[in-house]
């Protein structure tokens, strides 16, 4: 069962890397600015999932606090970028 869990974790890490690649492609070719912000938000989500998978693989609980931090930073950065897109400035 542990071997199967190893293989599943390797597969899930590969899938996460592949989806990061797709989000990066959308970030590069996105025709408008909101597409790029959306792709950046999706990249934060992919990074969060990869950190969770690495935490399961290494059996370490410290990675979940890192995932919490990544979720926090991703939300704040997406909010700031969306507000900048809407108003033209972040802090009024």
């Amino acid at each position: 069962m542990l071997i199967a869990l190893e293989y599943t974790l390797a597969f899930a890490l590969g899938m996460g890397a592949l989806s990061m690649l797709l989000c990066g492609a959308r970030l590069l070719i996105g025709p408008s600015t909101q597409d790029r912000i959306l792709a950046l938000d999706a990249l934060w989500v992919c990074t969060l999932m990869l950190v969770l998978l690495v935490g399961i693989r290494l059996g370490n609980e410290l990675y979940f606090e890192l995932a919490m931090l990544i979720a926090l930073l991703g939300f704040v950065s997406t909010m700031a970028l969306a507000k900048f897109l809407m108003r033209g400035e972040i802090i009024e």
């Binding site: 869990l5 996460g16 408008s32 290494l58 609980e61 919490m68 969306a82």
Partner: protein, 104 residues
């Protein structure tokens, strides 16, 4: 590496199923973000990634770590709560800014 002893099947099978489901749903969301033609269709991809993909991975990790440490683990519930609270807000903000930009 994973340092636990032998994993019983009633823990291992749901964890593996949820991990497979979460990674595949994340990949499907990213594929949707990459391939769909219009912005208002593309915004559905990251929603699938956040709620279903990361949600399934979080359920798997909650189950596994609650078994390994033989106590309920709280961290992952905090992450789940935070993600499920903030994902609709960020999606709504991006949507509003896109709509505002198109109107202008």
């Amino acid at each position: 590496m994973i340092t636990a002893e032998q994993l019983p099947a009633w823990v291992g099978v749901p964890v593996i199923i949820f991990l497979l489901l979460g990674s595949l749903l994340t990949f499907i969301g990213a594929l949707g973000l990459f391939r769909l033609p219009h912005f208002y269709q593309r915004i559905h991809g990251p929603a699938v990634m956040v709620t279903l993909g990361v949600g399934c991975v979080l359920i798997a990790s909650i189950f596994l770590f609650s078994y390994w440490q033989s106590r309920p683990v709280i961290h992952e519930w905090l992450i789940t709560l935070f993600i499920f609270m903030t994902a609709p807000i960020s999606a709504m903000l991006i949507m509003r800014s896109a709509k505002y930009r198109r109107k202008k």
